[in-house]
């Protein structure tokens, strides 16, 4: 539907380009949700750093875009000039090159997740303890990114872009191109995750979720599995973040706080935990609701979101996908009876 109806609608003029961009953003968030599903849905690790990795990807792309958007002759982004920085900080230098930026935006979150995951999983810290520690790390990173000294734009984040790879971002065809790329990326990531969870590796993850001790006793290196999936999830989120960046044109530390991560988890929970379809559906549905309700009834959104958290946890343990499956089964049962 998104591959056919929306583009046709757009080219026939029925759907405005901004709707498409909006959906493009949802796709990026859905990519991050796939990462959450891999970590939480399949492996049973509740991580609160997914939004952080998403933002790291976005910041990587943002750094490239900041540098490539500098006016002729200006060597430093304006916020650095305001902070009396004379020279481009060393970690900004590689982001001047698009392909380096592309690789680093995924690699940096991956390595960060790897180090963090290794230290935590090595000591078999899991469940609630894992959630709380990652929550604390997310908070620490949020605080660091908000500082001016870290040279990442402080609380204002990175913004004010006109061009991306030389294309004008206000141009409709460029917007459409980004939409298409997001959709393609979502498809690719989905396909990759699908293969992953159906491989032996994926089955082992589910086994870890259901009984970690038994996996250990049968000589599986659970720690390695955990670290691996944590890194993969982080990199997937970073891909989403990278594509998100040119479409919104702004990234701030506010996007990586604890609340953002928990919201990503509720997308997956609402859509259907442990089902890739569920992650995508949950992310799309909830973000659509967010857009609708914040424009129609701004003050009610937190009530609705909070209510959804409660309802999902209490009544929809398998999410929307699980509910649909259940209804299908019931319908089938009725058919069998009547037949």
């Amino acid at each position: 539907m998104f591959a056919l109806v929306f583009p046709i609608g757009y080219f026939t003029g029925l759907i405005p380009i901004n709707t498409l961009t909006l959906w493009g953003r949802y796709f990026c968030l859905a990519i991050a949700a796939l990462g959450v599903d891999l970590i939480w849905g399949y492996t049973g690790i509740l991580s609160m750093t997914q939004a952080l990795f998403f933002c790291m990807g976005a910041y990587g792309m943002g750094m490239y875009m900041t540098l490539s958007n500098l006016p002729e002759g200006q060597l430093l982004p304006s916020f650095m000039v305001w902070n009396q920085v004379e020279e481009l900080p060393f970690f900004w230098v590689p982001f001047d090159n698009f392909s380096y930026a592309l690789v680093l935006s995924v690699l940096v979150p991956g390595v960060f997740a790897g180090i963090m995951g290794y230290f935590i999983f090595r000591k078999r810290i899991k469940g609630v303890y894992f959630a709380i520690i990652t929550q604390a790390i997310a908070l620490a990173m949020f605080l660091l990114f908000s500082r001016n000294e870290t040279m990442l734009g402080g609380t204002n984040g990175l913004t004010d872009f006109k061009y991306f790879l030389g294309f004008d971002l206000r141009d409709n065809s460029v917007k459409f191109g980004l939409y298409a790329w997001s959709l393609i990326a979502l498809g690719l990531v989905y396909w990759y995750c699908h293969n992953l969870v159906n491989s032996k590796f994926g089955k082992s993850l589910v086994a870890i979720r259901d009984s970690e001790s038994r996996m250990r006793f049968t000589k599986y290196k659970v720690t390695h599995y955990n670290v691996a999936i944590f890194v993969i999830g982080a990199m997937v989120a970073a891909v989403g973040g990278m594509l998100y960046m040119p479409q919104t044109g702004i990234i701030t530390p506010g996007r990586m706080d604890v609340q953002a991560s928990i919201e990503m988890i509720i997308w997956v929970a609402l859509g259907g935990r442990g089902k890739l379809k569920g992650a995508v559906i949950g992310a799309l549905v909830l973000n659509l609701m967010y857009s609708v309700f914040t424009t129609v009834l701004p003050s009610s959104w937190l009530y609705i979101l909070g209510g959804l958290f409660v309802i999902t946890v209490l009544y929809l343990p398998k999410g929307i996908v699980g509910m649909v499956d259940q209804m299908k089964e019931k319908l089938n049962g009725m058919f069998v009876k009547t037949a």
Partner: protein, 535 residues
Amino acid sequence: MKKKISIFVAFLMMLVGWSQEQEAINIPLDTCVHVLLHKDASRLKEVAGYLVAKDDVTTYPLLSAVVDKRLFSYKGTAVTKFAGDTLYYSVYPKIQVISIQKEKLSEVKLPRSIRTKFNVLAKKVNLVHPNKNVREMSFRSFKTTGVLSDVNFLTSLKINEKEEQVLLAANEAIYSIWLKSNNVALQNKALDDLETEVNVHMLESLTDYVSNTTNSQGKERAAIIIEDIESREKIINVIQNLFSGISLGSILLLVALGLSIIYGLGGVINMSHGEFVMIGAYTAFSVQQFFIGFLPESWFDWFFWVSLPISFVVSGLFGLLVEKLVIRFLYSRPLESLLGTWGVSLILIQLARTIFGDVTAVKSPEILSGGINVTEGLMLPYNRLFIIGLTIVMVLLTYFVFFKSKLGLKIRAVTQNRDMSASLGVSVKRIDSLTFFLGSGLAGVAGCAMTLIGNVVPNMGQTYIVDSFLVVVVGGVGKLIGTIISAMGIGVLSKVFEFFYEAVYGKVILLLIIFFFLQYKPKGLFPDKGRHSDD
């Protein structure tokens, strides 16, 4: 030409006016008071000019009453009343409390032109203000503005002064003036005195002296004194930080206590626990509004003490409600409970925002303002001391409930083994609800206490929730003693790091330390002994 003449004439007139004032050299002060009280228009101006020129210490209370528009006449004596005070004082010849009949009191309203005449003395008249804090402030203001000629009356006022803090300020003023003067003998006298008594407030004057003086011997002596002061300041800073660390730790402890008990009991991660803190704070606010609206003003100072137990009950009841509606279904499903209660917390925050708006504040009761002056420069505020005391009381109460009461026995039984307790006849559901009530109530008390040191905002619980979780994790789940130690440790460390590094980096360092601590002790300070199956 005409213009020049007119200027000259004006100048002459000024001279005449000035000399007239000078001529009236001896008006008895009693007469001056009489003129002011009766607003004798013919002599007012003359008397005002005379009083300003005379600059007599004994008239200061009178003049300050004129400047502040609170001069009254009572049976021929000049009387004043200070803001925020119900007593009346006579102002001349001596300032003292007098009893009066209100109906015979009349306010003396002097024209503005007369009042402003005294403004040149405004700085001095506060030196005899009955409030010691005002006196201290005005003495201190002479440190920068005073000149050598001021020393005489500063010394004369100092002799009658009884309050230690004001005396200190007076000395500071005199020393600073001496140091600023070019008189080497006076400078040395100041240095002699400063060498014997270390005074942290003299740092600035001494530094100025060092950079201005050419006297190398004096320079050396001053440098040594400065060093003394600085090392003393460092110690005071450390103590101050330890103290605020302990008070932060107590708040964390109050919050974390409930969190830890609830998690230990039902395996529930209650993300909405911070919101019970918020509810406690808003309860205190509501009680305050009730006192303002419906009860006599003199009762107002009682509102805080009334709101403490009410906060406990209201937060506890909210906790009970949340337990019945949501958490009941989530026992032993920690991760789901984390998500569900996060939802509850969103709803509660938005609810508070809808009802109360964004920022409100609660006024601290009078008795908790101010603090204990341990030494000069080191003050322990009463409100923080109160919070620490309150925490000690609450912890002791919790201890007794847990380890000395039948309810506590049952709670501990359910914490250890839910099914076993149920089969032995403990009503697990009732224990769950009661524990939740207690835990949320503790958070409510914490919220009520927090109104003493900060504003009341809808998301105030969120600021403490991550830290409180860290306290629980570090202390070991459901362990009273572990929670106490880790709360104090985290509180003190975060203040100390904040002092040495900037707040953000301090926080990051603290988080790193916790991170590595858990590498070493993944189950917290006091893990359960024995082996458990995880799955």
